[in-house]
Symmetry: C2
Subunit: 245 residues, 2 copies
DNA sequence: ACAAAAGTGTTCACTTTACACCCATGT
DNA sequence: ACATGGGTGTAAAGTGAACACTTTTGT
């Protein structure tokens, strides 16, 4: 017998994974599938976020990290609790009700939603018991429960957050090129950015450090590699109170 | 018998009220007081946020508005759900446990926290059954549960939010002076702002509309009155993707 | 006339934006 | 040699920050 679950409270994790090769911001989703008893019809066939009930003894942050770790094996990732969802009808879709009955959790479950930032290459999906799969944020499949809404809100929060905090580097490898960062911002924000202006801006930051190394194994001019120094960032960081309404 | 309460989930409301006369950003708190059965000692004597269990049939937003309305009689205020709190020990202080036992709610209650913005002058506290009282954000009394933490996080969120969205006008009367707005920003952010620069900046906004009226009943030079036009703001608003990391 | 707060301009430094071509490398 | 993405410079416009005195009104 494991730890006691709180039956009406869960955490859900929106896992953002950046695929640097495809320049694609992805979401990690889990297959939800159920056939009727006779096997003659498909009752549930869609995707959901990874999530689970909160245990009696743990904090919300701990619960979210546990859930994320169970799916990916990873720890110490950047995470943010961004919103709670608890509408009475959030699990009331046809397929959702079948699923809720089968899994025997409360039809009035509140979920505290987190998002996590990582690199797709850090996750091994082969042999995953949950049939987890990456989907580009712009090409999501049919989603169960209110998870489409949850993902949309996570994405909005990420868009805002990435403009004011250096969280983008959580989505990139330790060594990256300036163009990698630009591609990432473009993927997150869905906009085009001027390369010269972006490059100048980034290179002028003291916490973006040129490594004096170049890319290897590329079939073109290899680019200069940089790293992000959190130490320097924390020292240099200067809270500004610019009112831009 | 009223609507059914969900025993382990509540909403808590951080009510920000701006007192334009005193130039003070205040928090509305409720007295928590309990004597021992003999009356010989005081078991609980502090303040808490207003909050209540969520009902079976309602959304979180509805619950928060209901709670706020019960305390203040007001509706249609600006509100924001900013964070959920659910640490196992959040109701485990000595006084908290006495209170939880008396009120018979679950010692593992999760709360979804909202903040509301209003003007202190819009709330009538006389004859309030809850012994509610305003406290300047910088002079909070002893607080029960984890409510000091909740208030701190609400304040931080408000600081960030007021820099990028015109929510400050929710804290001011319809007609206000430029200096009123400056005082408010100073109260929220805890900083000093240059009057000339601030004034120029605000007056240049198309949605800050000079009314051609002046203050009355002031014992000094009366100031020009302005209003905020949400209509104009929505039309003029231009999402910008300025990366300032 | 005085007290109190309202209101007013300028300069300098820096940042943003717009824009098009050459360069270095691997194949 | 060629294809591919890497890398580069400048000018104009706008914004932010610093800074001190005069004006208007009520009492």
């Amino acid at each position: 017998m494991g730890p006691k679950e709180i039956s009406n409270i869960s955490v859900d994790c929106v896992v953002f994974g950046y695929d640097i090769k495809r320049k694609s911001l992805n979401i990690l989703l889990i297959k939800r599938y159920l056939e009727s008893e006779t096997g003659s019809s498909v009752l549930v066939d869609d995707y959901v976020l990874t999530g689970y009930h909160v245990y009696e003894h743990e904090t919300l942050d701990e619960a979210s990290s546990r859930v994320l770790n169970k799916l990916t094996g990873l720890t110490n990732l950047y995470k943010k609790q961004f919103k709670a969802f608890g509408a009475p009808d959030r699990l009331m879709g046809e397929a959702d009700q079948i699923w809720v009955k089968k899994k025997q959790f409360s039809p009035r479950t509140f979920t505290i939603a987190y998002y996590f930032l990582l690199k797709t290459e850090d996750v091994t999906l082969e042999g995953n018991a949950n049939k987890a799969k990456w989907f580009p944020i712009e090409e999501l499949p049919r989603l169960g429960f209110d998870h489409e809404k949850i993902i949309k809100e996570a994405h909005e929060d990420l868009k805002v957050k990435c403009l004011s905090e250096p969280i983008t580097f959580e989505l990139l490898p330790v060594k990256f090129t300036i163009n990698d960062v630009q591609d990432l911002y473009q993927s997150i924000l869905g906009i085009e950015i001027d390369n010269r202006n972006f490059r100048r801006k980034l290179i002028n930051k003291k916490y973006i450090i040129a490594l004096g190394e170049k890319q290897t194994g590329v079939s073109k001019k290899p680019a200069q590699l940089y790293m992000f120094s959190k130490d320097v960032y924390d020292k240099v960081f200067n809270k500004n109170y610019l009112i831009s309404i």
